[in-house]
């Protein structure tokens, strides 16, 4: 966190000064470790073993927050009798279908629930991301509670007991064997977490998105959620599982997505089989209960925002204008399709995949198969220059003249040259104001997409082709201003935030209607222009308000700063403790009140409210269940739906690992996405012939001084001089074993490529003893590329595509490699070296 979010880390330093214990779990000793009370090294890719160990410790020591777990989580819910855990099925959950290499999820749901599987099944079989499913479709709830519950949590089949058994073998000894961290050090962490949780105290887990970059990425986060729910650390001040995301608007670009499988506000993209009509779409995606119960209102309001008067009750509000997804159309799937010639044009906008994406060579080869490529960026990135400056041109594998891709480079405007919103990692939208006009041909993306759209619409005007109707009927009439005809960003924000039929602005998502009388581009942002004011531009200084600071910017939804904050009060609505009070029930006033945040709960719903049988939407949420996005209002220790790889996190080894899975016969996540093709060879993993050719664990990461793929730092003189060259970090022991010289050069090799880096021999990277063997780590920052002021090889040349199948994110954080002294061979000799390694390792292809 000190490495990548130094300014956020000020709060950790301040907390530490006030007595907080800071623990850093990381394969390397970093700038964060230097400030931590305790640094705990673990082998890259063993997070679930570590967190599962904490779950086990919590049960062994009876340290779980019983009242919280019983009331607020699904711990008491009884599961179906045919559910089988990994403990009973050789490392698989029940429902594994080896033919499809996928799970059928029927057995994972709550006992006595019914009718829930149709949508889940269709989505899974179609390989649609799990995040699409809002969970627990068709729950049959009785008075807002799941049908079969044991409040004593002693029933063998209740979630809590299943959880306990699932992690029973995740002992401190097992943690040491898998993760390589000393048992005592692990126990210190577990003890510290438990001692600092409960009514009076809370602990938080912060992670950077490297945690998601594993074939078990989603389950890594789930494991942290389980720990936090058991300890009562969710929805309470000082608690939480806090994602520290890495781009100014990466949260915003998920909320209002440039992602294939969702529409604004996490509404799923429709599927051809499952969603023939709006009604069916709503039925299958919107659970009856909770905030998602009003999906139809959100969807219709979005369709009205997009297609305006053309969207009517009679035509399903233009639902049929939406294109359908029926598989994985994510980044990597698209690049593979491109490699096969199936993609004609690509827009790469502020993204540099030939440095930032795994298997950089595959990325470049795919770009070479395009008809045309449009790159928008500040400078000529490696992606923009792929056709004239690449390792393949060095080696003679391709010549410039052979690459048929037509390339447009369009210079982009900087944040100081346009108005707009960044959403930070805590869902806070903060408006940035334009200071100057962009220079030369530089334009904002708003300018670019608006005028591109305008031009396409002009060209299609008069078209009788039905498929052009969605473009021509689009509401696309934003006012422009200034010398460049810049579209007014506030007018776009107004559309996002929602209007009533009379043109006035809605103030919250509960006001959205399913009859077409409201238009709202993103339901979670409903109200961001409430009262006709750009709420995200509010700038009341922190000194002039309390620490909740809810008059600075605007957080979705409804300016709620802490999500699920009703959990900061007990089931009766009283603060769990005076020390940790945040939101509570004011019985006299008959409303939820607190320190200043908006309650993430219907403001006047009594704590003892029990919904009627007919209730739906938010009315179907009980007064004592805070997790309003879930139909049962409960925090899910166990995820009955939504995930493709199991309802509970289980430890699997990474795609490439020097070690066998000490817990299960199943080595890797059985649902991971791998692609066996010549451009994407895998190093043999433990148990396969040739694994010893790549004996070391490789991990990639960022440095404080640079930013992602370097487009905004390797071109900046003051940053480039601070970290001018690619380096690798290795232990003194590995340096000795391989003859690496401090300050000299090393060549790092995988079955994909070979790169060179300066050698930093450091005690901050140390071997771990795993299963009786020393494990050596090779650490490589991933920022570098061939262009800019600070140049070097790209770490992503080394990595394969190996994806978590829930979200299609690749395993950037761990692979295997070899390392040898000296610079890498040049030109064709580089290929020969990699080929030699492949041959020795018996790599297929």
């Amino acid at each position: 966190m000190a490495e990548q979010h130094p300014v956020g880390f000020q709060w950790v330093v301040e907390a530490k000064e006030r007595g907080a214990k800071v623990i850093h779990v990381d394969p390397r000793f970093t700038r964060t470790s230097a400030m931590a009370d305790l640094h705990v090294p673990i082998r890259a890719g063993t997070d679930i073993a570590f967190l599962g160990g904490i779950v086990n410790y919590i049960f062994e020591n009876d340290a779980w927050f019983r009242d919280y777990v019983r009331a607020f989580t699904n711990g008491p819910v009884i599961l179906k009798s045919d559910f089988k855990d990994t403990e009973d099925a050789g490392g698989f959950f029940s429902g594994w279908d080896p033919g499809r290499s996928a799970y059928s999820v029927d057995t994972w749901s709550y006992n006595k629930s019914s009718g829930e599987t149709a949508a889940g099944k269709a989505e899974q079989e179609a390989d649609v991301s799990g995040e699409q499913a809002h969970g627990a479709h068709g729950f049959s709830l009785s008075k807002g509670r799941p049908p079969d519950i044991d409040d004593s949590m002693e029933d063998d089949r209740c979630v809590l007991q299943v959880l306990k058994r699932h992690y029973a073998r995740y002992t401190p000894e097992m943690v040491e064997e898998i993760c390589g961290c000393p048992k005592e050090r692990f126990l210190e962490v577990a003890r510290a977490m438990c001692e600092r949780s409960g009514r009076e105290r809370t602990s938080s887990v912060c992670y950077a998105v490297g945690w998601t970059q594993h074939t078990t990425g989603v389950q890594n986060i789930r494991a942290a959620c389980i720990v936090q729910l058991l300890l009562g650390n969710v929805g309470r001040p000082g608690g939480g599982v806090l994602a520290l995301r890495g781009h100014a608007n990466i949260q915003g670009s998920t909320d209002i997505p440039t992602l294939y499988n969702i529409l604004p506000g996490y509404i799923p993209m429709p599927h051809p089989q499952a969603h023939p009509s709006l009604d069916k779409f709503v039925e299958l995606n919107g659970p009856r209960n909770g905030a998602w119960g009003e999906l139809r209102a959100y969807m219709v309001s979005m369709l009205k925002a997009w297609w305006g008067d053309a969207a009517t009750e009679d035509n399903d509000f233009c639902f049929q204008y939406l294109p359908r997804i029926d598989g994985d159309h994510s980044h990597y799937a698209t690049m593979l399709k491109m490699l096969d010639g199936g993609v004609k044009g690509l827009f790469a906008v502020g993204q540099n995949p030939t440095v930032g994406s795994a298997n950089a060579k595959l990325q470049r080869m795919a770009l070479g198969k395009l008809d045309w490529l449009v790159v928008r960026d500040f400078s000529e990135t490696e992606t923009a220059a792929f056709w004239r400056d690449s390792p393949e041109i060095d080696s003679g594998e391709v010549r410039r003249e052979e690459i048929g891709t037509e390339v447009f480079f369009l210079p982009a405007a900087a944040h100081t040259e346009k108005d707009g919103n960044f959403t930070n990692t805590q869902r806070l939208l903060q408006w940035h104001h334009k200071a100057v006009e962009p220079p030369g041909d530089c334009r904002s993306e708003l300018h670019w997409i608006y005028h591109l759209g305008r031009r396409v619409r002009e060209k299609l005007t008069g078209s009788a082709d039905e498929r052009d109707r969605p473009i021509l009927d689009l509401t696309w009439d934003y006012p422009v201003q200034g010398p460049q005809d810049e579209p007014d960003a506030e007018s776009v924000l107004q559309e996002i935030g929602g209007r009533r039929a009379d043109g006035t602005f809605v103030t919250k998502y509960e006001e959205l209607c399913d009859d077409g009388s409201t238009a709202c581009g993103s339901w979670i942002h409903a109200g961001i222009y409430g009262e006709g004011v750009n709420q995200s531009a509010r700038r009341k200084a922190h000194r002039e308000q309390n620490w909740v600071a809810n008059e600075w910017g605007w957080a979705w939804p409804k300016n709620i700063r802490m999500i699920y904050n009703r959990a900061s009060a007990d089931p009766e609505g009283r603060p769990w403790s005076e020390r940790k009070r945040y939101v509570w029930w004011d019985a006299e006033e008959g409303k939820w009140t607190g320190l200043g945040d908006n309650p993430d709960f219907p403001p006047d719903k009594e704590p003892d409210y029990v919904p009627s049988r007919r209730a739906r939407g938010m009315a179907a949420i009980r007064g004592d269940t805070p997790f309003v996005l879930h139909p049962d209002g409960l925090g899910w220790l166990y995820a009955p739906s939504g995930l493709v790889d199991g309802p509970l996190p289980a430890h699997y080894e990474p795609q490439e690992s020097p070690f066998p899975n000490a817990l299960y016969a199943q080595q890797q996540n059985p649902t991971r996405q791998i692609f066996h093709r010549p451009e994407n060879p895998y190093n043999p993993t433990d148990g396969e012939a040739g694994a010893a050719v790549f004996p070391f664990v490789l991990t990639t990461y960022r440095l404080t001084e640079h930013h992602t793929a370097g487009g905004m730092s390797r071109t900046v003189p003051y940053l480039s001089e601070l970290q001018p060259e690619l380096f690798c970090e290795v232990s003194p022991q590995l340096a000795e074993e391989r003859g690496l010289e401090h300050g000299g050069w090393a060549t790092i090799v995988s079955a994909r490529s070979a790169i060179e880096a300066r050698v930093l021999v450091t005690d901050r990277v140390k071997p771990l003893r795993i299963q009786g063997r020393d494990m050596h780590l090779v650490g490589v920052p991933y920022h570098w590329g061939r262009r800019g002021l600070a140049t070097g090889d790209s770490a992503n040349e080394l990595l394969p595509l190996a994806l978590d199948n829930n979200v299609h994110i690749s395993e950037y954080k761990v692979a295997t490699c070899d390392i040898r002294p000296g610079r890498r061979p040049r030109g064709r000799d580089r290929l020969a070296l990699v080929e030699d390694y492949r041959r020795r390792a018996g790599v297929k292809h």
Binding site: A2, P6, V7, F9, Q10, V13, K16, K21, V22, F29, R31, T32, S33, A34, M35, A36, D37, L38, H39, P41, E176, G180, C181, P182, E184, R185, E188, L703, T704, E705, P717, Y718, L719, S720, E721, L722, Q723, P724, E725, F727, P732, A735, H742, G743, R758, V759, L760, V761, T762, D763, R764, K766, L768, R769, L789
Partner: protein, 299 residues
């Protein structure tokens, strides 16, 4: 004269004198992010000065100079598990736990690591030799008690360069004039704090009135000592030291040499025979610190 007073301040300013301003750099909370280096360069429009990959931990800036007015040192140390005291602020707590355990061979062979980081800057000495040897008056003491070079007066004679016991003063290549930290004199006149101190994410660099900063530093030292940080010490905060105390002083977690700082700097005019040899000596000390780090890295 109060302990913080200097020869030419506040006396020569009369009613115009402002409180003496300075830096207290608390290295126990430095996270080595180098925001200070960049914020300084950006505000003062200092040219970039790439030196390439150094291999000296994460330090590729290496030294203070005409184009580097803030420099973050990185020192990697091995800490034996059974050593008493001397841990970093944060490892002290851990050490208790480490010592009582055995079987640490699976991690770091029983040794811990500590990574010291410290942002160095011109010390704005109470007894500032640079200022006294300057023949043109380009170097002067401001109304804030700070030492500043006037770029339009400096003629590049370089007399001040060897006079500095810390090797801070340096002539810019291709320019010849001397450039160094001004404690953001222009910002101070506008009532703003120096760029480095404002940027510093953790408040490791604290800006304020020197007298108050010294009290703050004493309190901080006391707190760290109570926490078992026996090696923690203040550096250049003592008005009785060889330079009369500094306007920019430090809380260190180890000997000054470890950070590349002269252990006992003196006003070079006091005893010319024992000049701590200005740039050369300071560079030597820095070299020693680096060698120690590098050796640790190789052994």
């Amino acid at each position: 004269m109060s302990p913080a007073e200097t020869l030419s301040w506040p006396g020569t300013y009369g009613d115009e004198a402002k409180a003496r301003m300075g830096f207290f750099t608390d290295t126990s909370i430095c996270i080595g992010c180098k925001a200070c280096e960049v914020a300084c360069k950006e505000w003062n429009a200092i040219p970039d000065s790439p030196k390439g990959f150094s291999g000296k931990s994460y330090d590729n800036t290496l030294d203070l100079g005409a184009d580097t007015w803030r420099h973050v040192a990185f020192v990697e140390q091995r800490v034996p598990a059974d050593a008493g005291g001397g841990a970093s602020l944060v490892e002290a707590a851990e050490r208790g736990g480490l010592a009582e355990r055995e079987g640490l061979a699976t991690y770091q062979e029983g040794d811990g690591v500590r990574w010291l980081m410290s942002s160095d800057v011109c010390k704005h000495c109470t007894e500032a030799a640079c200022l006294e040897v300057c023949p043109t008056g380009a170097l002067f003491r401001t109304e804030f008690g700070t030492v500043v070079v006037q770029e339009d007066v400096c003629n590049g004679c370089g007399y001040c360069v060897p006079a500095c016991p810390f090797g801070v003063l340096d002539q810019r290549e291709g320019d010849g004039r001397v450039w160094k930290c001004t404690l953001c004199y222009d910002r101070l006149k506008d009532g703003k704090e120096p760029a480095c101190a404002q940027a510093c994410p953790t408040s490791s660099i604290q800006f304020g009135e020197v007298e108050e900063l010294r009290e703050r530093a004493e309190r901080r030292l006391e707190k760290l000592r109570l926490a078992g940080q026996d090696e923690a010490r203040l550096y250049l905060a003592d008005p009785d030291d060889g330079i009369g105390g500094a306007g920019a002083f430090f809380l260190l977690l180890d000997e000054p040499e470890v950070y590349g700082l002269p252990p006992d700097p003196v006003d070079t005019r006091r005893d010319l025979g024992s000049i701590w040899a200005a740039a050369g000596a300071a560079a030597l000390a820095l070299g020693a610190g680096i060698a120690a780090a590098a050796l640790g890295g190789r052994s």
